[in-house]
């Protein structure tokens, strides 16, 4: 125990003596750990954010998507496949266990008013769409079933559109906007979600009753159909029934019936892959940092050859010398790891308002774990060289 303390003490002493060199040597590890921990933080943050988004959709949400969806083996995702129409909507409405149906038509459009314009994501659907994450307005109201039945030309718009065209959400209520020369009355605005990378999405949304969108959508087709089951326990049966119904018309590969749990699983596995890739990138900087440590430790061993000889002369074993230099390499890399972690924490705190980054215990363990492994792995070669020096040759070294 005493020996360990003495080792650590003398290692710290050496590192303290060469502050600039110590810092530069640790820098590689610092950057490596910083990038790994930051990447993990972004990965976890994004994953958490998306999970939360899904949670707001509710457990009973079922989605009918064209093609093989997210989970398909085709990989083409949402591209290709079929578009759905009102016939499909009416058919799935009749499936037992289905509480409500929201056909979804989406299009990028230019919303214009007062001589200004704003590109917006138009979503045409039924009021059920509001329960999938767009459920509150700060001014005005959401449209209702009556609006759908009356084919009312009303719109609920995001705050970015409102601010651009009318100056503020409050001012937008009751005003008229033009979408491809069709006039719509703004009846409600969504509260501002903020300038975050992901949060800005809802701010450029423009939601109208699907019955009022047929002029943009002459074929009366839908990109997707969202449904709500009456109970989350019967979701499996409802999904199977919907599939059976649609198979009468479409081929198996043309559409996907999915639920959020399934999508969540897909998203999670995508992030697992992403995290692995990010860690691999960080590992490269760590290896470079490790080589830096190895290099400096070789130089240190040469510098201190005589000291090694003296220590051997007064009774140090090869193991004692090995441990001395190994502990020095370990301290160097742990120092880098600690600083990297510290800077990562500061960065995460600073960007927290803009991006949902997270540093958890796992990141800390990974940060320290990796830096100690690097220290031991790259420190052991120079330390072995020090230990293998012949005592007499070392003591004669000038």
């Amino acid at each position: 125990m005493k020996f360990i303390w003495f080792l650590l003490d003398s290692s710290f002493d050496d590192l303290r003596r060469n502050k600039a060199r110590t810092f530069l040597t640790s820098l590689g590890i610092l950057i490596g750990v910083l990038s790994v921990v930051l990447m993990l933080a972004f990965g976890y943050g994004l994953q958490g954010y998306i999970e939360k988004q899904f949670e707001t959709l509710g457990k009973t949400l079922i989605m009918i998507l064209p093609g093989q969806g997210f989970g398909g083996s085709g990989g083409a995702g949402l591209i290709g496949g079929v578009t759905f129409d009102e016939k499909d909507v009416n058919k799935v409405k009749k499936v037992t266990g289905v509480e409500s149906v929201a056909p979804v038509f989406t299009k990028m459009v230019k919303a214009e008013a007062n001589g200004k314009s704003q590109y917006s994501s138009l979503v045409a659907s039924t009021p059920e769409i509001f329960s999938s994450g767009f459920d509150d307005v700060d001014y005005g109201r959401l449209f209702t079933k009556t609006d759908v039945n009356k084919k009312a030309k009303v719109a609920v718009i995001g705050s970015k559109i409102a601010e651009k065209l009318f100056g503020s959400n409050k001012n937008a209520i009751g005003k008229t906007i033009r979408i491809q020369n069709q006039r719509f009355t703004v009846i409600g605005t969504f509260p501002k979600k903020g300038g975050g990378a992901l949060g800005s999405d809802i701010d450029t949304h423009l939601i109208i009753p699907y019955t009022a969108a047929f002029s943009f959508n002459p074929d009366k087709t839908f990109f997707a159909i969202y449904l709500k089951a009456k109970d989350d326990k019967i979701i499996g049966e409802v999904k199977a029934d919907i599939k059976k119904t649609l198979l009468k018309r479409y081929k198996e590969d043309d559409f996907t019936v999915t639920e959020q749990a399934e999508l969540l699983g897909t998203v999670n596995s995508i992030f697992a892959i992403l995290n692995t890739v990010l860690i691999a990138i960080g590992s490269i900087s760590l290896i470079v940092g490790g080589i830096g440590i190895m290099n400096i430790m070789y130089a240190t061993v040469t510098d201190r050859t005589k000291e090694i000889g003296v220590r051997r002369a007064i009774g140090a074993t090869k193991r004692d010398i090995l441990l001395q230099f190994l502990s020095e390499a370990l301290i160097l890399s742990l120092l880098g790891g600690f600083l990297g972690l510290l800077i990562a924490v500061i960065i995460v705190i600073l960007i927290q308002p803009l991006f949902p980054a997270v540093i958890n215990a796992y990141s800390v363990v990974v940060g320290f774990g990796i830096s100690s492994l690097i220290g031991i792995f790259f420190g052991v070669f120079p330390a072995r060289r020090a230990a293998q020096l012949s005592p007499i040759e070392a003591i004669r070294y000038e």
Binding site: K2, F3, F6, S10, D13, D14, R17, K306, E307, G309, V310, R311, R312, A313, I314, G315, A316, T317, K318, R319, D320, P391, I392, I395
Partner: protein, 225 residues
Amino acid sequence: MIKLVDITKEYEIGNEKTQILKKISLEIKDKEFIGILGSSGSGKSTLMHIVGLLDTPTGGKVIIEGKDTSSIKDNELSKLRNEYVGFVFQQFNLINKLTVFENICLPAIYSQKKLNYNIKEKALELMQKFSILDRKDYYPNKISGGQQQRVAIARALIMSPKLILADEPTGNLDTKTGDDILKLLEQLNKEFGVTVVIVTHEKDVAARTKRQIFIRDGEIAKKYL
């Protein structure tokens, strides 16, 4: 007691073999005070390094307390260097980043046995005896050569070895300081019964010892040339 039997040491430089020591046999009895005298390049330092187990002979045996050291493991050699031998070098060979006190205690850090005395107390006692107590927390490069050599002797004594090997201990010191160091070594031999071997090229240093061994061209000579 230490016995050297037919010790040879060869170095190979390029294709040329140089014999540093040629079949040297000698005995060092307990509590002896010996001077090994020889000119530079005679092989006297190599001989001392072999006695102190810092270097290994090409041929022959070093027998320490009846134990043949030619076949023992490196770990065991470290243990013997630590417990049995104390080295004093011409260049002092103190570790500059450690204080005087830490330098003196250093061998105890590497001790493989449990010591039956308190190292710190013993170090303070030695510093007191050698009049370097007031330099306890100084770094070696901040004290005089004579003081440094006292620190080195204190370090050599901290493990209570049976043998002190001093390689040109006065070589880097002025006559007066050198004389003090020699007196100290004499005192160690006389009062504490430590075996002292001084390696030197100076006749008058060797003359202070009780038995002189002359080395010339790697062999024991009858007299000093």
